[in-house]
């Protein structure tokens, strides 16, 4: 295979881990983020601003710092780690599951914010009409809100996926950079740089660049076509 001529088995494993992580994280983010964003877009509760600020917090905290505190929380001595071992489970830090949890925290605002904007832009009239046509709340959400917020969903998916692929600090801290398990592409590139193996760093970075750009191009094309159709 072509990839393997350029990439070492470790690099390939890192690529696989990265894609798996980004995919799982995005799926979980949509499941968690969509209801949260919907609540934020509709509520008049005072708690709203607090939740909004909490969601945005990972943006403002340096990833390595966030990673450090997640490590303290998820590690063997941390509260979550202690809870896990009380339940007879291993610690979450340094496992793929731990990475997923960290990534979900880290990329949450990237999914919630575009969804919230898209939801807020939906005419309340559309939902009223759906209600008078006999659609229950969940039905209204899937039959009206989701299609109308489609550009928002696409943006959320791209941002969530992309940001997880690009994440570094959090993964390094709570993942432990274990090849085949928690070593992701961003760290593999960085390691090559650190080890002064510039050639392999360039190949990996170049590959990531081309791949990312292609992915983004595809998503934006679809999104753009959708928007054009909606406008015509």
């Amino acid at each position: 295979m072509l990839l393997s001529t350029y990439l070492s088995p470790d690099d390939l494993a890192a690529l696989a881990t990265t894609l798996k992580l980004a995919f799982l994280t995005t799926v979980i983010l949509l499941l968690v983020g969509a209801p949260l964003a919907w609540w934020l877009s509709q509520t008049r509760s005072r708690a709203k601003v607090i939740v909004e600020a909490l969601v945005a917090l990972p943006l403002i905290l340096p990833p390595t710092v966030l990673g450090f505190y997640l490590l303290l929380a998820l590690g063997a001595q941390g509260p979550v780690g202690q809870m896990m071992s009380a339940l007879g489970l291993g610690p979450l830090a340094f496992t793929f599951t731990g990475l997923v949890i960290g990534s979900v925290f880290y990329s949450l605002p990237f999914v919630v914010q575009p969804l919230q904007s898209a939801f807020a832009a939906i005419e309340p009239r559309s939902l009223e009409v759906a209600a008078t046509l006999g659609a229950r709340p969940l039905d209204r959400f899937f039959s009206v809100v989701v299609p109308l917020a489609r550009p928002g969903f696409l943006t959320a998916i791209v941002l969530g996926f992309a940001h997880t692929v690009g994440e570094f600090g959090v993964v390094l801290m709570i993942g432990g950079n274990i090849p085949g398990e928690t070593q992701v592409l961003s760290i593999a590139i960085y390691d090559h740089v650190e080890a002064m193996d510039y050639g392999r760093a360039h190949i990996l970075a170049g590959g990531l660049l081309v791949l990312s750009f292609t992915l983004l191009l595809m998503v934006y094309s679809v999104n753009g076509r959708f928007r054009l159709r909606a406008a015509s």
Partner: protein, 227 residues
């Protein structure tokens, strides 16, 4: 079996060579994880699943050992050597190159977190240049960053590691190895975290003549065994 080794970033290139050699000799596989020593310290305290820790310094393995990690005291597996690198040098590089520095910038590793940085600081302090050069000092997070700063042409000179200039085959005319007595030795210590057989094998290998030859070849000095 797979042995997970936490390797300080500056030793990663050497560790890869060691791993290759080791894997030809034993059925065991090495999984090398690279990061800064400070990060590994925090991670190992939180139960990170490494079998062996190759630190960039002595302090962190010692501290971990005192805190109950591992049941053998850490050993020094390599001693880092500081060099002054000046790629554009028009004359021989030596300590006068540092003395003549005025507005040019000098890269070094951050003394607070990196042993090479601390060694660089000691050298400059001893030469009475530390205060004078403050404004022109560019601190990398670790010694490899200091190296990139010089290599990318953003900084004129850097206090970097001998292992780096060797790995990159930098012509000898461009660098000056700082005499070892000008700074506290950069002792890099290893800590055996898990006392299982494969990890033991790596631990043994690390102190074998074959391994010591590779380490030395990569620009490190060696401690006397059994010290």
């Amino acid at each position: 079996d797979k042995v997970r080794v936490a390797v300080a970033s500056n030793f990663l290139a050497t560790a890869k060579q060691l791993a290759q050699d080791f894997q030809t000799r034993t059925p065991h596989q090495l999984a090398l994880s690279a990061a800064s020593s400070g990060k590994f310290y925090a991670q190992i305290r939180q139960g990170a699943p490494y079998d062996l820790f190759l630190s960039a310094d002595a302090e962190r393995p010692q501290r971990l050992f005192r805190e109950g990690v591992g049941n053998k005291p850490p050993v020094t597996y390599a001693i880092g050597q500081l060099v002054l690198w000046h790629p554009e040098a028009s004359q021989a590089v030596d300590q006068t190159s540092l003395e003549q520095l005025s507005h040019q910038r000098l890269a070094l590793a951050n003394p607070r977190v990196a042993p090479y940085g601390l060694a660089a600081q000691q050298l400059l302090q001893q030469m009475g240049l530390w205060q004078k050069l403050q404004a022109g000092l560019v601190r990398g997070e670790n010694v490899s960053q200091a190296f990139h700063y010089v290599r990318s042409g953003n900084v004129d000179m850097g206090l970097v590691a001998l292992s780096q200039v060797k790995t990159m085959a930098i012509p000898e005319a461009q660098w000056w190895q700082v005499p070892a007595e000008r700074y506290t030795p950069i002792e890099q210590q290893a800590l055996l975290i898990q006392d299982n057989a494969p990890a033991q094998a790596v631990w043994q290998y690390l102190q074998s003549p074959e391994a010591r030859a590779i380490i030395q070849h990569n620009g490190y000095a060696l401690a006397n065994i059994g010290e």
